[in-house]
Symmetry: C2
Subunit: 354 residues, 2 copies
């Protein structure tokens, strides 16, 4: 069985072996204040930096999920106002989290299946933007994201890259925070979020604290930093996941991020081409600039159940359409764990499906 659901998704080829090694090395019983754990933490940081070209101006912290990061971003960085570009269920959840934390959250919304291309000026402290909407298969142009920062130099620009990393090659100098969870593009079991922040985010959190605002307890940026400079975490962490993430990132570095990116693009092209030519299917996202390379959605209408079953018989798990699209769409993750061969086979099966 190959799992094309966008997350939790297919495990990366080496994830299970590295988990086994973690047990052999005693990682589960290791003190998170020991030098052995510090070495693991440091290794994972270094491999993520190497893989994604994260500069020294940005810190990398670990949470339990990307969902948690939405909450932490608002708590740490916003006194009053945030703005959220909403074009699907996940970008909406971040917006709603800000509302739940009683912020004046502004929603800039377009319908499912399209994105944003014109940066605008906003009077807010934080801008939330979803590079890749897992629910709708829409990727935003990087030029739009960088343009937002240019137009809003005072706002902290926070980019949800949950289902586009490690594919997307951000210029981290042009964004303040980027975050993801490990059960998508990295092909790990769920239970770990990765939160990348620059010095401006740290400074903002410190200024909120200095002004007397509560920014949380153990997962505040100043406390992350205090522990992070010792290669430690604020609390006893999911240490096995931190270990496995470092080893998988190392494997990806060895494979070559350019190779991974080219393969991702190849796989995306062959599936989109097939969907465009297909008699009874089409890509849900029509505009090429918004078509996500990493989460590809087929508009399958009343053929949905039949196609899903057809693929299942071939050993392929397709992701269900998200929410209201459950009965009319299928989602296909295109992550590093999905090989060229598996994608070619998937496309052949879809072609054969009438």
């Amino acid at each position: 069985m190959v799992n094309f659901s966008p997350g939790p998704s297919q495990l990366y080829f080496t994830a299970e072996d590295h988990t086994r090694s973690a047990f052999k090395l005693g990682v589960p019983s290791m003190s998170h204040r020991s030098s052995a754990f510090e070495a693991i933490y440091q290794h994972t940081q270094e491999q993520l930096r190497a893989l994604l070209s994260i500069p020294k101006t940005h810190h990398i912290f670990f949470t339990s999920s990307a969902t948690e990061i939405w909450e932490r971003l608002i708590q740490n960085l916003v006194i009053e106002k945030s703005a959220h570009f909403v074009n699907g269920a996940f970008s909406e959840k971040f917006y709603k989290a800000a509302k739940q934390l009683h912020k004046q959250a502004q929603e800039i919304r377009v319908p499912d299946g399209i994105g944003f291309s014109q940066p605008i000026k906003l009077d807010v402290e934080l801008i939330g933007v979803t590079h890749n909407e897992t629910s709708t298969g829409v990727a935003l142009p990087k030029s739009f994201i960088y343009g937002l920062k240019e137009q809003n130099p005072e706002a902290l620009l926070c980019v949800d890259a949950v289902s586009s990393l490690p594919y997307v090659d951000f210029d981290y100098g042009k964004v303040d925070s980027v975050y993801f969870s490990v059960q998508k593009g990295f092909g790990l079991p769920p239970g770990l979020g990765v939160w990348i922040v620059n010095e401006a985010c740290i400074a903002r959190a410190e200024s909120l604290l200095a002004k007397g605002f509560s920014i949380g307890t153990h997962h505040t940026l100043p406390f992350y930093l205090k522990n992070g400079i010792k290669n430690q975490t604020p609390e006893t962490p999911n240490s096995v996941a931190i270990y496995v993430l470092g080893k998988v990132a190392e494997d990806m570095v060895r494979r070559g991020i350019n190779t991974i990116r080219k393969e991702t693009e190849y796989k995306a092209v062959i599936l989109y081409n097939e969907l465009m030519q297909h008699g009874s299917l089409s890509p849900f996202v029509k505009e090429k600039i918004y078509q996500s390379p990493t989460v590809i959605i087929a508009e399958s209408g009343n053929q949905t159940e039949k196609l899903s079953q057809f693929l299942l018989e071939k050993g392929i798990i397709a992701g269900e359409g998200y929410g209201v699209h459950g009965g009319t769409q299928l989602r296909f993750a295109n992550f590093p764990a999905h090989s060229r061969e598996q994608y070619e086979l998937l496309v052949d099966y879809i072609k054969a499906f009438q």
Copy 2:
């Protein structure tokens, strides 16, 4: 090597095998909205209820750590005032979390090495009490904890049982919330907290919401409940840990909780007896009513480093003294993963140490 450190501690005998099974069963790639995951969630709930005799009046929810639970307790249950019985580093952390969240937090403090036995009346919404202080090896009498509830029926009584479950047999009808993390008595890798709450906690959180207070985003009690009744979690969880916890709890049910409790008491007695008779060591906790059966601390003074090394050569990892006690104490966890034979060996080695 046997790890007697109180956490992360020795893995339970079956934890690694169950982790391997989780991968074989595809748990890491399973959708957390699928019926397959719901069955796992339900199984874990049922086994925890069976093992700990948790009544239907109490719900069981999953967080990333017990540290997170301190934050969630305050966010969900307190408008203004909480009180914290502080007798070590971990009870103090909960108190500090309440302060960080800008509550009028009251600290009732005794020195390290002793506990509390006289319940008092308090004018607060929440009372935090640490059944077993992992940093000092002090366990509080259950009669004190139940007495607190009797004297303060309006306050929600929240009990930290991080390093005493599954040993301690609470009458859950007499407490409002109990919580623990899995890397101690349950012998799992870290990365999961377990939060037990009764209907009064749910009602309190709902009343805070109704009054217009912010109680958080994804880890609010009403949202936990909404998902929990479907056997689901608010966000993509550490599904492997939830699976393994259920299987380990099932193993413990099969072994018999009474057997586990009797063995724990036997192991505690032989170690405390040895420490009391020893020429150069003594129990840090002097008063018998406060001597924790599950975290036993040796006052080892200037012999500390030598004893630690001596044990290490025998294949035994002793836990370091916590914080300021680092150079003068050693801590020994007495969890279900530590067998009678290992404990007898530990005691023999300590006896042989001069």
